[in-house]
Subunit: 198 residues, 2 copies
């Protein structure tokens, strides 16, 4: 699909048809996460693809899906035929930036005014969301704060932190997020030319 169309079509979809995802397409979507850049080529990103129905049900339970459904939403976590779990290792960045070519003038690891591990896994997230659209699929995202116990369900080692799951499937009609009622910020408040405020 044309890039501009993929970008324009991307939106969070929180309901899916009861239909499996082609494994080759799913692999391409998951591998897109690993096409994102990383500071110093630290490659701190990692991905777990979950299609197993029992594990998906465990994740849905850990996300308290029943309570969510009771409020009128679709059971989109358990219904999604695939979960792509995005993980990142902060430690990978520290290891990389303690290598000789990355030390500062005093021979020390740089300070990290921006924690680029979160930025880079965000780049991976966007790549996955767009790659799903490119395959004619749809994706949603649920953050780790809303899922207890994801680490132990998936046996994620302590070095890695899961930031959440991307649900992937064939789109079904869903209930629109009330967050969208906030409206989009006016372009002139978020896109400036030459300097802020211009």
């Amino acid at each position: 699909m044309d890039f501009a169309e993929v970008l324009a079509r991307r939106r969070m979809v929180r309901n899916y048809r009861d239909e499996p995802v082609d494994p080759a397409a799913l692999t391409r979507v998951a591998e897109a996460a690993l096409r994102a850049p990383s500071a110093g080529f630290s490659q701190g990103q990692a991905v777990i693809v979950v299609t197993d129905a029992e594990i998906r049900a465990q994740i849905a339970a850990a996300a308290d899906e029943d309570e969510y459904v009771a409020r009128g939403f679709d059971p989109w976590i358990s219904r999604a035929p695939a979960h792509i779990v995005l993980c990142v290792s902060e430690e990978a960045y520290h290891r990389r930036y303690r290598m000789p070519d990355k030390l500062d003038a005093e021979g020390k690891e740089i300070d990290w005014p921006i924690p680029y591990w979160w930025v880079d896994i965000g780049a991976s997230l966007m790549a996955v969301l767009l790659a799903a659209v490119n395959e004619g699929l749809a994706a949603g995202f649920l953050g780790t704060h809303a899922i207890s116990d994801l680490r132990s369900i998936l046996q994620i080692p302590s070095e890695y932190t899961p930031i959440g799951i991307v649900t992937v499937g064939h789109p079904a009609p869903d209930r629109r997020s009330s967050s969208l009622d906030l409206g989009r910020k006016p372009l002139e408040s978020v896109l400036h030319w030459q300097r802020w405020g211009s």
Copy 2:
């Protein structure tokens, strides 16, 4: 351009031809940042597009480009005809998650185990990098830690934090980053199925 081709072609380019970028194309690339998702539709992301030669020279000086060039690299910061500066407001997320529909069961703002403002600006970064490729352009990235004074040069308000600049231009041959000599991690170490380690 086809999405898969855009994704495959994306790489950091650190040298550009002395040729301006079409303003309409540049606008599309910058606006791609604002197509990224944000937690709770907080829309904490903002962008400054710098094409003014004097401001670009100030940024290059703040990035200590001369010292970089002395080590054998190209003057890619000053040479890039456009800088897209990516900013994010953590405060926008706190404001959003203090609204009634986002409070937890005890009526309080959620804890933030993951700082999603960094994740979301990372999604914006990826959108910009890919959108540049889609326009037949190339892009590089330099983090804020390597640029002193970016906030004051661009008059960025205290609420927003710049994470770095995306340099955009027509690609010229560049010196390959030595970080790439590290090699890509084996796929089986970063892509797992069903559970970590499988």
